[in-house]
Amino acid sequence: MVDSAINLTAVEVRQLVKRYPKAQTDAVDRLSFGVVHGEIFGLLGPNGAGKSTTIGVLTTRVRPTAGQALIAGVDVVATPRTVRRLLGVVPQRNNLDRSLSVRQNLLFHAAYHGVPKALRTRRADALLEQFALTDRANDKPEYFSGGQNQRMMIARALMHDPTVLFLDEPTTGLDPAARLFVWDRIRELRETGVTIVLTTHDMDEAAALADRVGIVDSGRLLALDSPAALVRGLAAGATLDVAVEPAGESGTARLLDRLGDLAGVQRCEQVGIAGAVRTIRLHITGDAGALVARVAAAIGDVGGRLIGVEIRESSLEDVFIELTGRRLR
């Protein structure tokens, strides 16, 4: 059932389709990807892209319309019970048991998964410590902050020592400090060998955490690679914004022509006007720093006056824009 080739893949999604009853389009549309054991895999896309539905299928809570999904080689539709032992889930919405204390939430979760008593007590103590919840262990989560709830849900999901941990929008709505705390814990988890699949609509989060990122939109996978490779794959690797005072009426047009002809400049456009000053954006390939001197000289050649220069490296957001023609948020 589980051959060695498949077993190298912690999560495998093949031609997955999900159409909800009465929906006009597929929430997930022939999605395929694989997640290697021990990596952090990010699904990046806007709200409604089908990320949560995909997580829902992988965690046995959503029945796929077509296609296949496997966790460690085990089919999620055919053997959901086996799969549930392998996965930990941190959902987007708080689903903590409000009738139980923090510690009881962890202990009962482990008990549902058949973890013996001594072991679950030991794990609960360790996870409460790791997630800085020890002093709140006997409180009920009713009045907890978003950050505390999130920490608790991650700790709970780890109580049965899952092979794959799913985090659905793990830091949405958290303040910056809580977000960094969660990021640090996620990086720590990778060191222990847990495979992590996270969804996010935040490109910074995807770039900061994920070994590989799958960009999804309208239920389809548009690109899949490491964040660095995705950005490198862009036609333009960086942008150079120059603030210029052009000479005369036709100065701007002549500037755009001249700058667009420079080697290493892919295209350029005017993106801002403030008084006499025009901001021109150059989409460039190669080293931005080396280009600056030539840009300055070219501006001088057509009688313009250079006022400011700003170099910006391309990000996953630019990748998304190039793929979809839209901004991520």
Partner: protein, 277 residues
């Protein structure tokens, strides 16, 4: 990429690798224990919710009106089995309907149990079992309360088997009705649903009158025959006060088994619909 250097981690820890049925039994037991622990923390609220209404029913109709001469003492012994039946059914309905509406609707608390290595039907069965347990406890407590309020309650050792059987079946049917309501009614409509379902259920269950006596009011007799609580009330009378005209015990048991099949199926269908998208 770190993926190639990280230790491969594919199997559940050795401690968790128990045979499937044993894991399932342990898991089921833990889910049940969770409900017992939560109810135990809130025992006073549970008892108040369950017992206040039957207490006042017994006090006003069994004691007060009898004392004032408006009803005969016989009415109390007719009413008591009916109230035990009502307590069983209502407690069980409430014990599944309300939590399911909340847990599927907004607290989402049930998700952690739906992700346990249990089949969905077992998670649903635990809800039914626990609701039934609450209902049986509530019914049992009715006896000391009845003795306290009325001085004595009807009891027959020969009817004990039927009493227990009808109580068990009645509690399970109630739990299934509650699961059906709790999973089919959208959370925003639950108040109106309860008003529309609960009040008729309360007064057409042959609780306050024996069913055969309705022969003169044929249409109402037909209506009450459609309410499963009628068979709990009548079964209780067959067990405790057979001298009062009643539907035969075996008919009650059969009718309750049929109700269990119908509402059990509906409840499970509703549960599955809410648990998996």
């Amino acid at each position: 990429m770190t993926a190639t250097t990280a230790p491969v981690h594919t199997e559940p820890a050795a401690e968790v690798r128990a045979p499937s049925w044993m894991l399932m039994a342990r898991s089921f037991g833990s889910v049940l224990r969770r409900d017992v622990v939560v109810t135990g923390k809130d025992l006073v609220a549970f008892l108040a919710q369950v017992l206040l209404q039957p207490f006042f029913f017994l006090f006003v109709f069994g004691k007060l009106l009898t004392g004032l001469g408006y009803t005969s003492h016989d009415y109390a012994s007719l009413l008591f089995p009916g109230l035990v039946a009502l307590t069983v059914a209502v407690t069980a309905i409430q014990a599944t309907a309300f939590p399911l509406v909340a847990e599927f609707g907004w607290t989402k608390e049930i998700e952690d149990r739906l992700l346990a290595p249990l089949p969905l039907w077992a998670v649903a069965a635990e809800k039914l079992l626990f609701a039934s347990l609450r209902a049986i406890v509530a019914a049992a407590v009715m006896f000391p309360i009845g003795i306290g309020v009325l001085g004595s309650v009807p009891y027959r050792a020969a009817g004990l088997g039927l009493l227990v059987g009808v109580a068990l079946l009645g509690s399970l049917v109630g739990a299934c009705i509650g699961m059906t309501i709790g999973t089919f009614v959208p959370p925003t409509k639950i108040n109106i649903a309860f008003a529309l379902i609960f009040t008729p259920l309360l007064f057409t269950g042959a609780t306050q009158y024996p069913w055969p006596s309705l022969a003169s009011l044929r249409w109402f007799q037909v209506v009450t025959a459609a309410n499963p609580i009628t068979y709990v009330s009548e079964g209780m009378r067959a067990a405790l006060v057979p001298s009062i005209p009643h539907i035969p015990g075996w008919v009650c048991v059969l009718a309750l088994l049929a109700s269990l099949a119908v509402f059990g199926t509906l409840g499970m269908v509703g549960f599955r619909r809410r648990a998996v998208d």
